[in-house]
Amino acid sequence: MLVNVPGPWSPLLGRLALSEIPYKNLILAPLFVVIVLVAIALIAGITYYGKWRYLWKEWFTTVDHKKLGIMYIILGLVMLFRGFIDGLMIRTQQALAVGPGNNGMKAMGAIHGYLTPFHFGQIYSAHGLIMILLAATPLLVGIMNIIVPLQIGARDMAYPYLNALGFWITAAAVFLIMISLFVGDFSHNGWFGYAPIFEMAYSPGVGVDYWIWTLELIALGTTLGSINFLATVVKMRAPGMTWGRLPVFTWSAVTANIIALTSFPCLQVALALVAADRYLGTHFFTAGFGGNLMLYTNLFWLWGHPEVYFVIIPAFGMLSEIIPAFSEKPIFGYTAMVLATFAIGGVSWIVWLHHFFTMGMGPYVSTEFSIATMLVGIPTGVKVFNWAATMYRGRLSFSAAMTWAIGALFLLLIGGLSGMMLSIPAINYMVHNSVFVVAHFHMMLLCIVYAVFGAVIFWFPKIYGFKLNEAWAKIMFWLFSGGTFLVFFPMFMLGFMGETRRLDWPFNPQWAPWFDVQEVGIFVYVLSVLAFVWMLYVSIRDRSQNRVHSADAWGTSRSLEWLTDTPVPFYNFAMVPHINARDEVAWRREHGFLESNPDHFKAIHMPNNTPMALYIGATTFVLGFALTWRIWWLSIAALVLSVLLMIFRSNRGDPGYVISAREMEELDRESKAHMQEKPALPLPQGGFAGGTATAYSPLPHNNSPSGGTPPSSGQAL
């Protein structure tokens, strides 16, 4: 049954050997040293400040949707940075290697540029996988995690523990792909993989295996998350929160998670079958023996296209929250907006073949998929016009969040129109697999990134109690847009000039000027990254000036998350609100109810923290690693252990704890007092105690809002 691997294998260590560690590589070895040093510094720092207990109690074992959301976002930002470095390396390679002749750096063993083709292949494969699945997806899931329960008036997600499990499995995927940098190598087949190159005969290394198990873990984590979101919205809405009053962002979260729930199983199957081919010697995707190469491409894009809508629809939702708030108008065409979101979600299921029009299945099939693809343009157009109409005659304020949102609209326009071009088979045959396609989907994915930055700036004060620095956020915006323009617009030209994607050696000297433009662009991006870091620093430093003293940070916000205290206390709402209108906060503001607080309280029930999700996440990481290296005993041990942990947790259950009405009243009073306290606390300049910065840090004691610690007096059930 088991496929024989080329090269050494031992029962104890599988394919793992010291020689698999690329300590001679001139890029990886120094990077490894840097990462180890940073890790040591971090660990030392945490130990020095005695923060381990705090991290463990407040973050690693948390089941609070806000904290998990924050961790998702941090994970996403870190991976966005890693993916960005990959992008920088890709751009630099092409800029150096372009043109005829043998211009490579000998020291690196490269004939062209500074990277060997194999290394270059790993970089673009990791780049694509990371950016879509480990940067964009966690960022979006993180924001949904924080905002969706708040927008529907729930205390938490439907399954807080499952939420933590989804996060830790995603984190396991991140660790797996990061470790592939230093132990063995990563796949060089592109982020989506090509059959039959990923078969054992052509890719005998462990790279493809890393790729398989990373993707499987992400798929698992995301599916669990999507179930949670859907159950939350269906079952946990506050009284009065009818479907017709659901905020548009929540609607988009519903659509996106329906897409995720229905499509991720396809990915799991596609990759499991690749794994079967590589591990068990089956013939699903082999050339010959009755296998079918294109079946893989089909199954992958069966998930792949819905997936791209899974990532863009929450971004649409974010735009739908930011634009009304800064136009001081309700969203134009709420019903049309919701229906359009669902239409996009529905159509996204019947277009996947446009990723392989060139397969050659003839005109009938191509026509169907071409027309279906074009249909997406209709609801998308509806949305764009609705956003425009929301702004029309609104009282616009171009805050940083709004600036990012408007930028996103421009990218959506360009990306969407280039997508329309690609959806015409006759054009597609010309530019398929060229960098024109790369330009198209980067416009789309950057639209998401813009929306995410807008959303982070928009919702940041809700979570931390102070605003991010507007000026630096805008500087970052302009730098980032400059980078976007310089890097990706040349790709449209280069695509028409015949540059295929993923070239480690772009041989045509006529492309060279555009590569230089792109190289300049990527350094403008570098500046924007610096601006981002500086923005964070300045904002945290000046947080006492930028404190928010009311529930509604912007004064013009509309939906329910702006009703509860700032920063959001761990119980979300002291009393579950009763919803009277779509845009509840705007309604209360207009009728003068914004200041009315509940006058009595009820006991509430909250879940306990648990390390079990972290443990199970860790076993899935070990499982992925052991399978990659074919260490069978370890794979079985990790699998058995994870099942045992699940059974153990299931047997124990979680009784949760209760906060009595009296305690609730006390907590609410404290939280409100904190929020309204006008004179800024004497805060240390720069740096922050407490490990997390809120407007009030350093916190006087653990029970304060957003501390998330169950109050010690909360009795167990």
């Binding site: 079918n292 079946l295 397969m359 050659g360 099939v365």
Partner: protein, 121 residues
């Protein structure tokens, strides 16, 4: 969450269990599967008719199971399950149907098919 304090046995989803329904579902599905097996092993019909017949058996058996066993109906407690199922069914059909269509068209153009050979198209 005061529901937690009432006896979970009285929950409507527990109370909807029904011996009669389960037996009915079982009997219908078993009979249909028996019929399909018999039709196929006795080659009782011409291939195309046979195919239609066993597809019919499968379809009705599944409907019986979904209705009698899984309680998929529009009562207050099951409506969301039904909504979810209704959302999924078209996707099942799309996944299998469009894939099958695209590859049958592809094979038409790329595979030398010898007439009369066993195959699923």
């Amino acid at each position: 969450m005061s529901h937690g304090h009432s006896n979970p046995i009285h929950h409507p989803e527990v109370q909807m269990a029904s011996r009669r329904n389960y037996l009915t579902g079982f009997v219908i599905a078993s009979l249909l599967m028996f019929a399909a097996t018999w039709l196929v092993s006795a080659q009782a019909l011409a291939p195309f008719g046979l195919l239609l017949a066993i597809m019919g058996c499968a379809g009705f058996a599944v409907i019986a199971q979904v209705y009698f066993l899984l309680h998929i109906d529009i009562s207050e407690h099951n409506i969301w399950n039904t909504v979810a199922l209704v959302m999924f069914i078209p996707l099942f059909v799309i996944t299998i149907g469009l894939t099958w269509w695209m590859f049958s068209q592809l094979y038409l153009r790329t595979m030398p098919m010898i007439p009369g050979m066993p195959g699923m198209h």
